[in-house]
Symmetry: C2
Subunit: 181 residues, 2 copies
């Protein structure tokens, strides 16, 4: 079965390929995203619209960062914070808060025109006082998972992939794909 991972983000594609361990194709499709805090809402909508174009089974991943002190904001809107506030600015914004806890989520949605399945992986952690590290992508530079003292961006890919939110989501997807064979 050909599956198309719909993304223009090479970092995501590489991580998902490494973690999944089976061959998937990729395709970059220009699609607007609906507004939402939850990664699943955004990914499910996008998967349906991607399928309408690609007409083959698709995978769409969306990532969210839920910050406790902000009652879960920005969630899946983190990409817009990156574009405006920036990650240094995000750390700065949280300096006035004692509670630095946050949850990173990766939600992968599979859709083949009939079955729509969501696989979510979550990791709890804290927001760093300042950005640190140069590996990874997105909010890796400010997120310190509870099992480490390093940000994701201070780990190599291998170390990150052993504990990441994306790993958890991909493993669920992998079990599902195996069960369909």
């Amino acid at each position: 079965m050909d599956i198309y991972f719909i993304t223009s983000n090479k970092g995501k594609l590489n991580e998902v390929r490494q973690l999944l361990g089976i061959e998937i194709k990729s395709r970059s499709v220009e699609l607007d995203e609906i507004q939402g805090i939850r990664a699943e809402t955004v990914a499910a909508d996008k998967a349906k619209r991607a399928y309408a174009i690609v007409k083959k089974p698709v995978l769409v991943e969306d990532t969210a960062l839920y910050i406790n002190a902000l009652n879960g904001f920005p969630g899946a809107l983190i990409k817009f914070m990156e574009m405006t506030v920036g990650y240094d600015g995000t750390c700065r914004m949280l300096r006035g808060y004692k509670d630095k806890r946050a949850t990173a989520e990766s939600c992968i949605v599979f859709y083949d025109g009939k079955d729509l399945k969501s696989f979510s992986g979550r990791v709890h952690g804290t927001i760093s006082d300042r950005t640190r590290g140069t590996d990874g992508f997105g909010f890796d530079c400010l997120f310190i998972p509870d099992s480490s003292k390093k940000t994701f961006a201070e780990m190599g890919t291998e170390e990150k992939n052993r504990i990441s939110h994306r790993r958890k989501a991909v493993l669920k997807l992998k079990r599902y794909l195996a069960s369909r064979r």
Copy 2:
């Protein structure tokens, strides 16, 4: 010409009706919104999708709050900040910043299946240290326009409507509609 103002927000509808001074119908249509910082992006997309359902000339309004210290964030995503951080939380979030300046924008998009026109009104001001006032709606309780010391929510409707971002947008729309007759 029948024009339908697409909204489920009565506060917006009342303000636009008062300011416009001509009869418009209203209709609430459940539509997802695409993600975007700019009010115009969100409103234009929504107007096209509303027209596809209503099949009559439509008006869609979107509101944004661009906060200087956050490089324009959250813009049109302010509604998601309301749902999570809340307005008290937004004031709290900005306490650590000296620069409290922000711009309120109302963007009204008209679409009749052929002409797509945007009318934007902007007011500069500052974010209050705490929410104040009970009039108005949305971010009125934290936005102090430069021409006043009160938040929009501390003014009556009449006073707000004399200076608001929405007034400016509606007056542009009014001129356009008059020119079409």
